[in-house]
Symmetry: C2
Subunit: 123 residues, 2 copies
């Protein structure tokens, strides 16, 4: 048994500790097999990108208290209409909130996904 047969990744010089445990899990190939498909990472990071903004987190927190129309959210955040509308659209596209037109107003509330996330987060 040559070194090349024992270690799938003999081409890559490694520190002893890593080489050993890596070998035990099937080398680099074995490691890769344990990973989810790349599309999963893309998908997951999509949600994180949506959450990666303080205004959006605050909007979610507000809607966790109760459904609100845009004008109330705007009053609390004190930002321009179009800016708020942009962030609402990001949250909506991600399926975290939904808007319900009621006369002149649009009342936003958390979707099921949205409330799952909020509660699963300890806020």
């Amino acid at each position: 048994m040559t070194k090349d047969e024992r270690y799938q990744d003999a081409s890559l010089p490694l520190p002893p500790g890593v080489e050993e445990s890596l070998c035990r899990c099937g080398g680099i190939a074995g490691l890769v097999e344990q990973l989810p498909d790349d599309t999963i990472f893309e998908q997951d990071c999509g949600l994180y990108r949506v959450l990666a903004d303080p205004l959006r987190l605050k909007i979610l927190a507000m809607l966790a208290v109760q459904p609100l129309c845009v004008c109330v959210i705007k009053t609390v955040l004190d930002i321009a209409d179009s800016k708020l509308s942009y962030h609402l659209s990001v949250l909506k596209k991600a399926g975290l909130i939904a808007g319900d037109q009621q006369g002149n107003w649009i009342i936003y509330s958390l979707t099921e996904l949205g409330s799952e996330w909020v509660s699963g987060h300890g806020k």
Copy 2:
């Protein structure tokens, strides 16, 4: 008792449903009181920003299998050294991973925070 006394936010015309429930929780002022401080949102969104990248999520998944040196991660991800180094630094700065120099190599592993996050995520 005038309308202005009953409703703190009488200045802002609201749809009936929202006005009612908002009034019950102390108006806009009451709503704001229930929200965490802005610094909390800033802080939380910092973590989400770090997680908002597929490469970084994949690196975390790899390190969840076992500690690895940069060259192994690089082989799996197949990206340029400096690019990998950049993403490692982002993860390190966020306290999700830590590097341990061992001879010529640096072996990265999940920190406690890092493994908490990975396991609390069902991956």
